[in-house]
Symmetry: C2
């Protein structure tokens, strides 16, 4: 792979790789590809120029515009690729861009269910009140018989539909593309007033950005719980906070965040931030009707294994053919 | 109802009633039955003698032997009635004893699932690590395709079987009475080495007390998670702690506790206790591979409503016929 690494020490750098993922990636890496791994984002790493011709990120690094001229390819180890499309629109270089479809559908869907069950049963309060063995204010709701609304029924959304049905819920789906025969599709306007659990599972596109704004949250049933396992930018943190404060929502479960890169840096550095969205997320995380997980819905041993295997498959295909096996459309 | 309340100020006293339950009970109470409510156990209340001819408890009050001579009836607002059987064996008075079958099967089953999902996905760590937005050590396991072992397949266990199947798990049941046609029954010895999730859902009887002792926990697969939503005395807290410490279990989810009355008093009073079992529970609750909830699995709005309606139905039946509608067998 020396061809790629002219004047560079390694062939590829993996940013945002956590411990278990690094172990799995190393296990799949062939001996003739040299790679460096870090849990940091590009910004946290402080790298002034690309340290390798191929870089791999997840969704929290901001790709520096000047890097494009020095890069051959970027692989995002994520199912979403909106950030790569944005980058392609900003730069002129001819870059290969790749992503990872299909590696974590079930993991994300099961995580969404864990969040809505935790909210329906007031788990944060239950865990706290174990300390006094008091049950006041802990009465929750059963999910069987309640209505689940899945907004965005792609591969992940379809698994969420399957889980909701398995739990005896009434399941409705909202998606402009009605690709699955076994889903009961409705419009958001019809479904919003009757849903007990609403899960955001759509791609981030210019059309879906900010979909769950104040007006749409107002359409939901009072007492509904809202879960986002897709992209933070689909739902404004300030609108979610306001909906909880006025009692329009009974709970919010988030694995992804509005301005997530800034949030991650603020949380890791402990520094304050001037961003209202980040402040709203921090206020949400303090509440006991909110469950916040660190963009971890994908993170099962099954998914990490599939993700690492597919990442290395992408690099080997790139080396062999000059293109990724799963290129960004 | 004055007949009952000779020289007493009220007809019935409800111990261990939390806020939502008291509201629901009052809503069902007919005007001609006078009742008093407290969240305290009999011991916490300090009542030296029975304050009414009929008392209602849950499972944390210890029934004083001398009270039997002054009581007409005891209603336990619980599905389990082992504590009433114990009391009947200790006293000579002819008491009416009642309990509440069937009011919370689904609520308890859904709670068991929430606990095992939270353990499979390392939820306590995820919630903590949101604070640093770090994912090291957070890789969990998907439940689809894994094996669920339900030990005790009564009404609650049967709902747990249904949920496991709905989530795409392989489900096995252990019960000396094979009452359901749709359950795959096995022996504990066969199933223990292959189960990923083990749920205790049996009645507490002299035969089942301490069933999950050190030897049986040793039979389980390394990496299995264990959940108890039935009775604390089925599994010794010290044995569970030891199994986690040596890595034999990957997680423990508890809603019920060995020596729960002593535990509840110790937690509420903040006082230390000489009990090794209580100390072991407190040590378990500190771990991030453990989820502890305060005997709250039953606690959904659906169950509280059914429970309160059935409690008052029991009292009215007792007044009308001299016997409970659902007497302790």
């Amino acid at each position: 792979m020396a061809l790629w690494a002219v004047n560079m020490h390694v062939d590829a750098v993996f940013y945002e790789a956590f411990a278990e993922e690094e172990r799995a990636l190393r296990a799949h890496l062939p001996p003739d590809i040299s790679a460096r791994f870090t849990w940091k984002t590009i910004q946290e790493s402080g790298d002034p120029v690309p340290p390798a011709p191929v870089i791999s990120i997840r969704t929290q690094s901001t790709l520096p515009t000047p890097w494009a001229a020095h890069l051959r390819a970027i692989l995002s180890r994520s199912t979403g690729y909106d950030h790569l499309v944005d980058y392609r629109n900003r730069v002129t270089a001819d870059l290969q861009l790749g992503y990872l479809p299909l590696y974590c559908n079930r993991a994300v869907a099961e995580h969404a269910m864990l969040l809505w069950m935790g909210l329906l049963r007031r788990l944060p309060r239950q865990l706290r009140q174990f300390g006094s063995f008091q049950r006041d204010g802990l009465t929750g709701a059963e999910c069987r018989g309640r209505t689940l609304l899945v907004v965005g029924v792609g591969h992940i959304g379809h698994e969420i539909v399957d889980i909701g049905r398995g739990l005896g819920m009434r399941v409705l789906g909202v998606d402009p593309v009605r690709r699955w025969d076994d889903v009961t599709y409705v419009s958001f306007d019809e479904a919003a007033p009757v849903a007990d659990v609403v899960v955001a599972a759509m791609n981030l596109t210019p059309a879906s950005r900010g979909f769950f704004n104040s007006l749409r949250l107002l359409q939901l049933r009072a007492g509904a719980v809202f879960v986002n396992v897709a992209r933070g930018e689909l739902a404004e943190a300030e609108a979610l906070l306001a909906a909880l404060q006025r009692g329009a929502l009974a709970g919010v479960g988030l694995d992804v965040y509005d301005q997530e890169p800034e949030l991650a840096v603020a949380l890791r550095s402990g520094s304050s931030t001037p961003s209202a969205a980040v402040d709203a997320v921090l206020a949400l995380a303090q509440r006991d009707d909110v469950l916040c997980t660190p963009h971890n819905a994908f993170n099962t041993c099954e998914s990490v294994e599939r993700k690492s295997a597919q990442s290395i498959e992408q690099l080997e295909h790139l080396r062999r053919t000059g293109r990724f096996l799963w290129p960004v459309p």
